[in-house]
Symmetry: C2
Amino acid sequence: MPRSQYHLTQSEENYIKAIFALSGSSDDSISTNLLAERMSTKASSVTDMLKKLAEKELLTYTKYQGCTLTETGRNVAISIVRKHRLWEVFLVDKLQFGWDEVHEIAEQLEHIQSAQLINRLEEFLGFPKVDPHGDPIPNREGKFENIPARSSLSSCEIGTKGIVMGVEDGSPEFLQYLNRIELKLGSEIEIADKLSFDGSLVVIIDGRTTQFSHLLAAKIFIQPTS
Amino acid sequence: MPRSQYHLTQSEENYIKAIFALSGSSDDSISTNLLAERMSTKASSVTDMLKKLAEKELLTYTKYQGCTLTETGRNVAISIVRKHRLWEVFLVDKLQFGWDEVHEIAEQLEHIQSAQLINRLEEFLGFPKVDPHGDPIPNREGKFENIPARSSLSSCEIGTKGIVMGVEDGSPEFLQYLNRIELKLGSEIEIADKLSFDGSLVVIIDGRTTQFSHLLAAKIFIQPTS
DNA sequence: GATAAAATTTAGACTTGTCTAAAAAATGTT
DNA sequence: AACATTTTTTAGACAAGTCTAAATTTTATC
Ligand SMILES: [Mn+2]
Ligand SMILES: [Mn+2]
Ligand SMILES: [Mn+2]
Ligand SMILES: [Mn+2]
């Protein structure tokens, strides 16, 4: 009994994706204001959209209590994330874009409707497990393969060595800064010192010494090797 | 003095593209009803849109007299056609789609906004000159390279031999029929006979004899070799 | 040139997604 | 518990894109 596939608008898909991202692993409900900020819109617009998405059973919504994705809603979100990340791999691996240039284009491509397209793209790309920022790509059943545990650099001790496995993909400026200091996925990194008065870190990246603010370090994820 | 680049909606882009396609080489104006039929919408909706597009100077519109694209409008149309056809090449050459499967997906992909993306895609594909249906791909300056003259099969004499250079890409069913009889771009074709009572043709395709209705023959374009 | 038919536009309505301003509910503070 | 503040919802508006039904203009025909 194939559940009738609602067509979702780009706007609806963007809301679903945002709620999924804000939820993370927890299943606490997401507040209207938080979602409004994330979507760069007003709380009243969010309320309207939540009613509509609740009507379509993509999330549960209780007045004044925020929302939580349903199973269906989560699946929609995962499918969009899958598309976004596979397109990012395409842009970087095949079209030679930098990791700082792909997010905006992928924001558009993630809404292209065709299951066949994305499955063939995945095959064409050789079934990548992570996107250019190290984020895991769910398989066609929507499962994230077991990705080895990663720690934020800011949570590691002095003396920790590791390999860069992921970086936050929010801002192009941040990624361009990483380009400048030649930090990539796979770079070897060591925490040489932590300055207690401002929480900044002295780090050695592939042999080059530099300094990271706490905020910057929080956006880099490593797999510790010692 | 960079002319302020209006953002066009998908709907606006689809209208522009349709007007361009209906205009062909002639510069007669396109009537409201013709456009309405092409867009599968109502004449009243077309009127509204024409007013908007005229306001944006993408076309000239005179009440009761139809519309004509301006230079700017034509450039927009060509850029969309370019994107559509390059994406079709990608889908067929890289993702192994059949020529009957790509149109609908390309209808979505043609609206992705990024000049860099399409230029890099073109390079990745090796600067193809035609799409999977034999239609020419304009270069990044919007020029169609000189494509050798092609004739509709229906307009050729008995005894004409030629190479299939293009087919109409409107309907998947038509393209699937061509698959069935193994007619491809590059196939050698000869008109063995013309039946005067219904205008149908007896043709030989790569050595195999079959029969084409006049309507079907009109959708196949060859470069005559004799 | 008058009249009939066809094409086109206008008027008014509806949906989606957004906004501002005001009302209501929840939360925090004494 | 009462008041103040913050969060959230509601009410009413607007732009885009569409529709139906009615009015208008053009074109065809006698
Ligand atoms: Mn991204
Ligand atoms: Mn990413
Ligand atoms: Mn096509
Ligand atoms: Mn085509």
